[in-house]
Point group: C2
Chain length 309, copies 2
């Protein structure tokens, strides 16, 4: 059983109450606590030494990444992050200065985005450090963007460039908070997700929740410089495959009615001239992802991977 | 550097924003998101295999404990728990049925207290399972009870019986949600904390935040049957020492003006006849904890332990 199958099993019959607007299965939970103009967003995520960061990763970047991942999920709902609590798992012997530097990185990013760090716990995890962050945000009532709203005919957009994040970007990425808020404020965005598992995998989450399929134009996928550099290390994975299946891009993928696509792209270029926005394909009926180029089309398999001849 | 010194270092200069009513240093953070009649409570906690539960602990009880610990912190603020998100760290190979049973125990307790489980993540932690819970609650505006409100002359109460929790109770305890809400509704409770580190250690947190000391009457401390049984296993730790310093009792400690003490005790006996409530001493000036009995008095040392002759 893989991670997604396990989560699907565990979330089948979870306790709910009247505050739940959207439970598991989206980037954040959406809760209605009775605020007149706002809904709450609630998210948790953890990073573990040896899995999400290395023993020699600069500690400031570890703390930064732990929070940035949650911020990216708040962005994917078009929300505003507000307050976080941190649980730190530490070996029995730890270097205090190293732990303080983890917090320095986390705090600096929190200050940048106006997030209060309002609590923390430490516990023992003998073999390796972990950092679990829970983040609370808000979104204007009715302006939350879920994964489930994609409609046949929608244009599919992605921000930035994809692939090769592990070379560098996974420790330095900027969560797309301002961009997502601007999008939701100016255009009727149908669905949105942040790219943590790779374009192919995350697009599939949107398709599954929305009951639709997608056609992706291969030449339109923005392949990052890192994805191209990575080919030198690992020639068996072409740069395009990296752009499709590498995780931790933390860019936004969203869909919008095709009639809004050109106006959105024009307005984006004026508002965010330094951040690429690419229309990579469209939503179609069905449930598959089809890759198209001049020579024809091929279907992506269930796990987001495809055989590249 | 121990856990408390580390937390004190890390929380010295954390990012804040205008929503923070009470940040780190209490049982929960208290946040004002603009709800007319309520404040939010926010808490995180994690339990780790081999530290907080054993390899052979029934998995339902592991899940139960993970949530119950956070519920106890909401209780200590006189709050109502509302919604939780869960992060599960799992070795690469895990037993799906075992993980489902962890969730069964967690879900059953959540249902009992009306808590929605609104999201979760799984991640890899190669050597051992951990479960990190973040819990969101509410409290009537102005009715939150902090650690910092103890006043000279206050009577100090504890619920239940103390010590020896690891024999059994740490897996089965009932968070004192209803009791704490009733207390805050009917009496001006000055300060409250849940007993997770032992009476001596947790009382010291209240004293430090309130700038006061305490006199404890040894004969009034409710020593549990488990604490007495434990002496047979470990004769070097008398039952009274266990009641004072064992962790994970998850009872409430609170202080109230001495003039309210008798009325409170009478009303409690009618409302909660099955749950013992003990007045164990009083708040005094200074910063020390003094233990008193017929023969005299002795001071507890800084770490909550005392030499028992």
């Amino acid at each position: 059983m893989n991670e997604f199958e396990l989560i699907s099993t565990l979330t089948r019959d979870l306790p709910r109450n009247e505050s739940v607007v959207a439970g598991p299965g989206d980037d954040c939970a959406v809760l209605d606590f009775g605020l007149p103009e706002k809904l709450l967003l609630f998210k948790t995520d953890a990073i573990v030494e040896g899995i999400h960061f290395a023993k020699d990763t600069p500690p400031e970047k570890i703390g930064r990444k732990a929070l940035a991942r949650c911020l990216s999920d708040i962005a994917a709902m078009a929300g505003t992050p507000q307050a976080a609590v941190i649980t730190l798992g530490l070996p029995k012997k730890f270097d205090t200065v190293y732990v303080e530097k983890i917090y320095d990185g986390l705090n600096a990013l929190a200050r940048k985005y106006g997030v209060a760090i309002v609590g923390g716990e430490t516990t023992t995890n003998p073999e390796r450090i972990f950092i679990s962050v829970a983040l609370l945000g808000t979104v204007a009532r009715g302006r939350q963007v879920l994964r489930s709203g994609a409609k046949t005919g929608d244009a599919i957009f992605v921000t930035g460039e994809l692939g090769g994040s592990l070379l560098e970007k996974h420790l330095d990425f900027d969560p797309r908070i301002a961009e997502a808020q601007w999008l939701a404020e100016h255009f009727p965005i149908h669905s949105m997700i942040d790219l943590s598992d790779g374009l192919a995998g995350d697009l599939r989450h949107v398709l599954a929740r929305s009951g639709v399929g997608a056609d992706i134009l291969k030449s339109a996928v923005p392949v990052s410089r890192s994805a191209k550099l990575q080919v030198q290390k690992n020639p068996s994975k072409p740069a395009f495959a990296a752009a499709l299946t590498d995780g931790e891009d933390f860019e936004l993928l969203f869909t919008v009615a095709s009639g809004d696509a050109v106006a959105l792209l024009d307005a984006w270029k004026k508002k965010f001239p330094k951040l690429k926005l690419s229309c990579v394909g469209k939503i179609v009926t069905g449930s598959e992802i089809t890759l198209r180029d001049k020579t024809g089309s091929q279907k992506l398999n269930a796990h987001g991977y495809v055989h590249f001849a």
